[in-house]
């Protein structure tokens, strides 16, 4: 099985978010970058499928040189090969186009992504890539089993889930509990250093959006504490102050 896994390079989930240059640039100062948590699930499942069925896992990121440690980490987790499309991922259409063009170069049985990135939370790239390649796309996928040329998948729908059967190849946006996150071991880390990481240039520069300016939300007011023996006071505040009940 030949699997392409698309990963993002995003701030750790505990990061404080800030901007610089008059709120036009993300402030990377002190920020730790990680593989997007949903992408990490996709990668873990891809590695499991490879271990069970044989084949190859290729990880792909559209990003500048700074994302290479994140790609190396994916190699340490068990991917065999990495590709970096050398460009700032400024727009989801642009990113999807690069991914689709890379996918056309390889014969992938599966293209796995996260359900959404945790920076822009778009949840859009998998559908775009599916449409560009004329392949089915599914998201959010919580179970993925492959048998020969068909897959059984479980997709989350609001308030429940749906099981589907579909032929390979297709694109899936993954989320838990598709697999457990994998932590790289020493052997993985050592071997990652020598696995191939190929850098390619973007094929197309079309963008459909432009970022004007970032903003931070207004700070939250102070909490009002209520005595545990006086729950009536909470009810009163919810009813007459917040007016939410």
């Amino acid at each position: 099985m030949n699997i392409l896994v698309c990963i993002t390079h995003v701030p750790d989930t505990t990061s404080r978010i800030a901007f610089t240059e008059n709120n036009t640039k993300f402030d990377k100062n002190g920020v730790q970058f990680i593989i997007g948590p949903y992408d990490d699930y996709a990668l873990a499942r891809a590695v499991e499928l490879k271990e069970a069925n044989g084949g190859k896992v290729t990880v792909l990121n559209v990003g500048e040189a700074e994302t290479e440690p994140t790609l190396r980490k994916a190699l340490a987790i068990g991917a065999d090969e990495a590709i970096r499309v050398n460009a700032f991922p400024s727009d989801s259409y642009f990113v999807a186009k690069q991914i689709a063009d890379v996918a056309k170069q390889g014969e992938y049985d599966l293209i796995l992504m996260g359900r959404e990135s945790i920076d822009f939370n778009g949840g859009m790239v998998h559908g775009m890539v599916g449409e560009m390649l004329g392949l089915p796309s599914f998201s959010p996928v919580m179970v993925l089993e492959v048998e020969g040329n068909t897959a059984k998948i479980t997709r989350e729908i609001e308030g429940g889930k749906e099981k589907l059967e579909v032929n390979l190849p297709f694109v899936a946006g993954c989320q838990e509990p598709i697999a457990e996150w994998k932590i790289p071991n020493m052997r993985g880390i050592m071997s990652a250093r020598t696995k191939p990481l190929n850098v390619v240039e973007p094929t197309d520069n079309t963008k459909l959006t432009e970022i004007a300016q970032y903003e931070l939300p207004a700070p939250k007011g102070a909490v009002k504490m209520i005595d545990a023996d006086n729950v009536e006071e909470l009810v009163n505040l919810l009813k007459n102050e917040a007016k939410v009940i």
Partner: protein, 317 residues
């Protein structure tokens, strides 16, 4: 401006988030809506209340399930045949899966998690919630055709419109679009859907075990609320996965979020930080969640919740 709104239905009813999308559309232009699968004419006409002039109905039974490629086809056709400039939809797991495809098909710029009406004095600029609610970005959509996926509870519902006219909308759908076979589907019935809910009561590891969820459910019932939980709770299978709230789960933006026995880890807060009001009940006064709360009670959930439930019942009677 001509606007097409994609309506999602649930048990034959237009979802509240879709009614918000219609209200959003009506605030920027003249709204035609598109609904797919079986739903009554009367229900569709009620989209007018929220500001739709006309509702197109692709009633083919094959569209009763939310199939991604057939939906893409129908919505793109409706967009073209109505000459719309903007497609508006609620942000939902189905819409997410569909609109990326529609965007490519139409060559339309796409903005997700839109949290306000657009500014149009210089270009078409929308404000999007990003970094899981920790920031916003103002984005210019540079194409003529545009798609906006609206964050839930981002806009006041319009409720003073007149009934909409309903028209059949038939699209010939190629069998190839139905390649994926649905083999089963499970849905919690009768419950309030978490992403749609106006009030959410959520429990964490502090509740000690699934057998104790009665106090959460009782409170939710009194308030007509949906129930949610923290990640460890769904990881341990105390609660179903679709109730897991946070950075890697459902992002909610209700009017009221009540967190019980949840410490308030940053990943949990990321999923709830756009709630209008937050109540935290935790026995540890140092729990970080209190910093993100509007109202807090330091106390044991097993004592506070039954009392709070009684007091609420009395107040709401």
């Amino acid at each position: 401006m001509s606007v097409l709104v994609f309506i999602e239905t649930e048990d034959g009813k237009i979802k509240k988030s879709s009614r918000e999308a219609i209200s959003y559309g009506a605030a920027i232009g003249e709204v035609t809506a598109i609904a797919l699968g079986s739903v009554s004419n009367e229900e569709l006409a009620s989209a007018g209340v929220n500001g739709a002039t006309k509702v197109l109905h692709a009633a083919d039974e094959k569209l009763n399930a939310g199939l991604i490629q057939p939906y893409t086809e129908v919505i793109a056709k409706a967009f073209e045949s109505t000459g719309a400039e903007v497609l508006v939809t609620a942000k939902s797991s189905l819409a997410d899966a569909v609109v990326g495809r529609v965007s490519v098909k139409l060559g339309a710029a796409l903005a997700s998690n839109v949290s306000e009406l657009p500014k149009t004095d210089s270009g078409f600029v929308v404000k999007q919630s990003i970094y899981t609610g920790k920031a916003f970005v103002n984005t210019t959509l540079t194409t003529d055709k545009k798609i906006l996926a609206i964050k839930k509870n981002a806009i006041e519902l319009k409720t003073d419109g007149a009934a909409a006219s309903v028209e059949a909308f038939d699209v010939a759908l190629d069998d190839a679009l139905f390649g994926a076979k649905i083999t089963s589907s499970e849905k919690a019935e009768g419950d309030v859907l978490l992403p749609e809910a106006d009030i959410v009561v959520s429990g964490g590891r502090g509740l000690k075990g699934p057998e104790n969820w009665g106090i959460i459910e009782d409170l939710a019932k009194t308030l007509g609320a949906a129930t949610g939980c923290s990640k460890p709770v769904s990881d341990m299978d105390w609660r179903p996965h679709h109730e897991h709230v946070g950075q890697t789960g459902v992002k909610v933006s209700p009017s009221l979020y009540i967190a019980v026995g949840i410490s308030g880890a940053i990943q949990h807060l990321a999923g709830v930080n756009s709630s209008k009001y937050i109540v935290v009940i935790n026995k540890d006064e140092e729990a970080p969640f209190f910093k993100a709360a509007d109202y807090g009670i330091v106390g044991d959930a097993f004592e506070v919740l039954p009392k709070l439930n009684e007091a609420l019942k009395k107040a709401l009677a």
